[in-house]
């Protein structure tokens, strides 16, 4: 072999093309990859394959902490287990009580919405997964979870923790999935203040303890301790899941916007078990369709005529028939009973149609609420 004969220059990298040319080839390859990757879906398949190849190493890297957890579990003392068991029993009892109440509330809500039968649950299916990799830097707040396309996980799926919203799936490999956390600087989640329904966006800050709400005008009604829940807009998250609690509101005269910080409820950098959730699209609280989805409201929805019934005195009307039915005069009950019978048919469309139409309608009217700077 000719190459072996040049023993004196053995360690010189003279086999094949010169290093400069090789580096040039690799650099061009890397740049091409970058451009393709930035240009959208060109490399989805490549990434899918690479993620599959990376999975064993990810598992291996997770093994020290997994092994540590395992050994700790084995050596956990019996009484500690008993204490935990008692605590879990207690928690379970509380949750079941709360759940009973939830069922009643759901029933009541369904009745209020004019639906004859109870609505199916919002959550269709859910799948717990274990975190096998984390990256919590100021640039990226990501998790890798050991569930993937083989388990039915899809891109843009909501990921929850026990305490609140965690994020959504970003890249789905065959057996693992990259989850972008709500605190990633590239992530924004449409939220709503529970107290008054004020809608805005919560943008990640790169710090696992902080979300920022950068689009609230200085006079908007928000204060420390407000609970933020998902607003259901945006097409990924359903309505009403807790996201964060407002930690700090600063209003200074120099900026037209309030500086609001919130603390996520989920322990983003500490949770080891997360849940992928499938929602029923038909549920009224399900994720609103995206603006670019090919559907434009409900054609059956028409403007409604104002109810013709004479309006009873506003202060008395709701109170009279319910609280003091006996003491109210007969004429008054007759008047207020008539609208009660007459109004529902007229107002039913507005209450029953919402599954499709309320998000669409509110989408067009969203910005003025709070998102316009």
């Amino acid at each position: 072999m000719a190459a072996f004969a040049t023993g004196a220059t053995r360690s010189l990298p003279q086999r094949g093309p010169a290093p400069g040319l090789r580096f040039f080839i690799y650099a061009v390859l890397a740049l091409t990859l970058m451009v393709l990757d930035q240009r959208g879906g060109w490399l989805e398949r490549v990434r899918y394959g690479l993620q599959a190849a990376a999975y064993p190493l990810q598992l291996a890297m997770n093994s020290p902490s997994a092994a540590w957890n395992w050994t700790r579990k084995i050596f956990e003392a019996r009484d500690a287990l008993q204490v935990e068991n008692a605590r879990l029993r207690e928690a379970n009892r509380t949750l079941r009580m709360a759940n009973l109440r939830t069922a009643a509330l759901e029933q009541e809500n369904a009745a209020l919405r004019g639906l004859r039968t109870r609505l199916p649950g919002l959550v269709d299916q859910w799948l717990p997964g274990e975190v096998i990799g984390t990256e919590t830097t100021t640039l990226r707040q990501r998790l890798v979870v050991d569930r993937g396309a083989a388990n039915g996980v899809f891109k843009g799926q909501a990921v929850l923790a026990n305490e609140g919203l965690l994020g959504q799936t970003l890249r789905v490999g065959p057996w693992s999935t990259e989850v972008i956390l709500v605190t990633d600087p590239e992530h924004a989640v449409p939220v709503q203040v529970v107290r008054n329904g004020l809608r805005t966006l919560a943008v990640g800050s790169g710090d696992p303890e902080t979300l920022t709400l950068p689009y609230l005008p200085i006079q908007s009604d928000i204060k420390e301790g407000d609970l933020l829940v998902t607003s259901g807009l945006g097409g990924v998250f359903p309505q009403g899941y807790p996201v964060a609690r407002v930690a700090q509101v600063r209003r200074d005269g120099t900026s037209p916007l309030a500086q609001v910080r919130a603390t996520p409820l989920a322990a983003l950098d500490r949770d080891r078990i997360v849940s992928f959730v499938w929602f029923r699209d038909t549920h009224p609280a399900g994720p609103a369709p995206r603006a670019d989805a090919p559907r434009g409201g409900d054609p059956a929805l028409k403007p409604l005529a104002t109810p013709p019934a004479p309006a009873p005195p506003p202060a008395l009307a709701p109170v009279a028939p319910i609280v003091t039915p006996a003491s109210a005069p007969a004429a008054s009950t007759a008047v207020s009973a008539a609208p009660a019978a007459a109004v529902p048919p007229a107002s039913l469309p507005t209450t029953t149609v919402p599954p499709a139409s309320v998000p669409a309608v509110s989408k067009t009217s969203t910005p003025p609420a709070g998102t316009r700077p």
Binding site: P13, Y26, L33, A54, L57, P64, L139, E178, P208, D269
Partner: protein, 159 residues
């Protein structure tokens, strides 16, 4: 006359895997800042001491692995790491027999170069720029160079 020392490919692959694992092992945020870029140190070591074993391909492949694991733009770390491999291979005759202190200086330059390339690509792809935290690993990496040369030196026969 044949190669008396065959290229230490096996040791190189194993240590590269180990370096990847150390580089990516989940760590708390505060510790993560101080973690040296083990992959770069490993690539520099092998490019200095066995430039033909892996060559620039070692840098490219380990960099690509970093891309996949970190969820970065595909090619970002691959470009930076293959650049490091290239520069080191070009300089390996000069640097290989220098005292450890001078080698450490060289490693500092390489780590800085690596981080600059990644920083630049972060900027071009519209990622928010981090503060000074991203440069801390250059110092810790330099401190780690001596132990790493000693440790990796035992994995293959001296040349």
């Amino acid at each position: 006359m044949s190669l008396r020392h065959s290229e230490p490919r096996g040791a190189m692959l194993l240590t590269a895997l180990g370096a990847l694992a150390l580089h990516l092992l989940p760590l708390p945020d505060v510790l993560g800042i101080f973690r040296p870029a083990f992959v770069v140190l490993c690539v520099v070591y092998w490019s200095l001491n066995a430039p033909r074993a892996g060559g620039i391909a070692l840098g490219f492949i380990t960099g690509l692995a970093l891309d996949v694991f970190k969820g970065a733009v595909l090619g970002q770390y691959a470009l930076a790491t293959s650049l490091i491999a290239y520069v080191t291979i070009r300089q390996h005759l000069l640097m290989r027999n220098k005292p450890v202190f001078e080698q450490t200086l060289f490693v500092v330059v390489m780590l800085l170069l690596w981080e600059v390339v990644i920083w630049a690509i972060d900027g071009w792809t519209g990622q928010a720029s981090a503060g000074l935290g991203r440069w801390v690993h250059v110092a810790t990496g330099a401190l780690c160079w001596l132990p790493i040369t000693l440790a990796l030196g035992r994995t293959h026969s001296a040349r």
